[in-house]
Symmetry: C2
Subunit: 123 residues, 2 copies
């Protein structure tokens, strides 16, 4: 409930993504009830991990994401989303660069490992 | 944290929206940490209201939404989002039909008035 930490304004996701030059590096574009709403570019393969205490929300905006969830691979294109339940092992992959909207509680480490958690920058 | 109430599966938002024939009638397509992830079609003007206890997440998927937030109007096209902070008066409008992804805590009444709250159907 801290959306008011920034003035309420519209967010153009493509404009935000155009500012990102890195991969696997989510940037916060809004906050919703203590969740970070983030955009991120995927390319290559992320490590398998899980988030014991939170679901993980993915919505593909451009490109194609392969989401390995336990022993299944889900292929997501633009306009396709997936919520990985808390505690379920998963990894995203992208053969060519893909653009994704992510939602996770503020402070959730990308890899599920708090030791690697870094504050995610705002765009 | 009840995404597991349905099997984890990908959700194609356009396919879900194609099943909706009504306006201002959100349908749940996924659950994320106790939030309803919903798709909805807007056409016309919704009443001004606020949600005292929750932010309100809008992402336009198709068409154009005019979001009146207090005394300002924000024009949102596809790929544009807005988080209305808790307690802030707002109303969405759409001159022609628009398609929207909404996220609100499960059980949030559309109008902010618990008396009008109805369980939102799943698609």
């Amino acid at each position: 409930m801290d959306a008011a930490s920034r003035p309420a304004t519209k967010v153009n996701l493509a404009e935000k993504l155009a500012q990102i030059t890195t991969h696997w590096d989510p940037h916060v574009v809004a906050r919703y009830n203590g969740n970070d709403v983030m955009v991120v570019k995927f390319a290559g393969t992320f490590p398998f991990h899980d988030h014991p205490d939170t679901d993980d929300f993915f919505l593909v905006l451009a490109g194609e994401v392969l989401l390995d969830v336990e022993d299944q691979t889900h292929t997501l294109g633009p306009g396709e989303m997936f919520v990985v339940p808390a505690g379920v092992t998963h990894r995203p992959r992208a053969v060519t660069e893909a653009q994704v909207l992510l939602i996770e509680p503020k402070g959730t480490p990308n890899t599920g490992d708090p030791a690697t958690a870094a504050a995610k920058p705002w765009l």
